[in-house]
Symmetry: C2
Subunit: 305 residues, 2 copies
């Protein structure tokens, strides 16, 4: 089953201890769509400016990402400039130029209106709601957000959250959204808002998934070189939803596998700048790293002792 992604396509300028890249391909929807494209077909709704290089649209098309919903409008593409120190967990934003993204009003092409799998990447929650209202009856909706929306539009955000199956946010955002310092209490409060499953991203420490019945803990893959963490969360979400859309298995077991595939994709993405690593990645490499995750976390149960 194909996935519909709504979010940002950007040109990023990134500085890490390992190098500098200027105006390279970025944006939440870009990372999400490319990662998901390893598992299923993807339809992208986003906006770029006249400066957006043709090579990037060619790359996205080469990944079987349908660009019917990618509008190109007068003006410049969303531009983000950031820096990471040796602690690669947190970006320092140096510049944000919304440009054409400032007046982005996502219009879902008629052909996408019956999308079954929908990801609302990090955009204004009022726009996320407009998208939700344009998609007839999605089977699975996942949603991301950020500290800015949690503080500036909490009510609009909570309405969106009450309608989604998976809220995928980081640890600090979970605490901010719930007002609870303890993560278990934060998770309970957020589930109380109506979302079915909460996935908490913890950077190099992995992911925790909470729902009414169970908790699942997945580590991050210990990497010797993290070149650029930009887009890791979106790449995770892309692998996660891509695998769910591929299998249609929404059981607890299916969701857990999807979380590992998401973690696998994120672990590859941070090995190089921008989407460079995903450009060379093959499915056998993905399966091999999934096996490494299995080896890394396996231990015998009490009954097997």
């Amino acid at each position: 089953m194909s996935i519909l992604v709504v979010g940002s396509v950007a040109l990023d300028s990134v500085e890490t201890p390992f190098g500098v890249r200027d105006r390279v391909l970025g944006g939440s929807a870009t990372y999400f769509a490319t990662s998901a494209s390893f598992f299923t077909d993807v339809n992208l709704v986003a906006v770029v400016g006249e400066d957006f290089p043709e090579e990037h649209t060619r790359f996205l098309s080469s990944r079987n990402i349908d660009l019917t919903g990618l509008s190109r409008v007068p003006g410049e593409t969303f531009h983000w400039k950031g820096r990471y120190g040796y602690d690669l967990n947190e970006a320092q934003t140096l510049e944000t130029h919304l440009n054409v993204f400032e007046s982005f009003k996502p219009v879902i092409p008629a052909a996408y209106a019956d999308a079954q799998y929908l990801i609302l990447a990090n955009i204004d929650p009022e726009l996320q709601m407009e998208v939700l209202n344009q998609v007839k009856s999605p089977r699975v909706v996942a949603c991301d957000t950020m500290n800015f929306w949690i503080s500036s539009k909490p009510e609009a955000l909570k309405k969106v959250i009450s309608r989604v199956d998976f809220l995928i946010i980081n640890e600090g955002e979970a605490r901010q959204l719930s007002g609870e310092a303890n993560l278990v209490k934060a998770a309970r409060a957020i589930i109380g808002l109506g979302v079915k499953n909460l996935i908490v991203k913890r950077g190099e420490y992995g992911v925790l998934m909470f729902n009414g019945n169970s908790v699942f803990a997945a580590p991050a893959f210990p990497l010797e070189q993290v070149f650029d963490p930009t887009g890791a969360g979106d790449t995770f979400a892309g692998g996660f939803m891509g695998y769910l859309a591929n299998t249609g298995n929404l059981s607890d077991e299916g969701i857990r596998q999807a979380i590992i595939f998401g973690s696998v994709m994120a672990s590859f993405n941070v090995e190089d700048f921008s989407l460079e690593r995903l450009k060379t990645l093959s499915y056998p490499e993905i399966e091999a790293r999934y096996r490494s995750f299995k080896n890394m976390t396996h231990f015998q149960g009490v009954g097997e002792l």
Copy 2:
């Protein structure tokens, strides 16, 4: 097989956001021995002063901890005073009074000299080496240390490390000891010092184990209430070594199970102040939480998909 523990027995004064306790039972060897006592017999070598309450020795004896090696000498017991904020990961030390611990020279009773399982809790690495030299041919040695010894006695510490099977330290200590910010590189450098296995404690994020062949990642148990993290690392090490000594299974699988049992013990210990939770803990509760760890981390392998 019994375990020999050498380390500190202390009286702690602790303040957390959830309460205050004055001069309660503490010390690395105390937590270690009590935790290990759920799995095997324990022999304790440590020192206390004349002020050490009889109720504490009665408690330790009640756990089948042999106190032949616990000397009671003139003076006051080692006293630590610390405080935790809402971020319970890091203690702020307010006072440290070494007292009788300052002139502690561990003498291993003759009956313990053929100990097979030895834990060198966090003491001066020169004393750790003296202990190593008094124990004839231990099968398994585990060792802890702290930032103070890494910076003040790095050479003595490295000699100890080259002779142990398990170095159990926290993430910051691993980085400090190796001079590497990246944990995978830090682990390789530390394994290069001659230790067979490195266990990196990451507080609420769990544990990573590195050796020449494999990496194992274990999460921490997500708890709704963490009352007092004091002794969590020693309680982990106690459960870990206690289980190894109980089973004698030093295979990769056996070590992984031991890491989970250690994590189980630590997760209980932080639920109350001092050793209060361990005082009421039962083995069925330990097994039940081991099962919860299994449930929390399980997912199907690629071959099972």
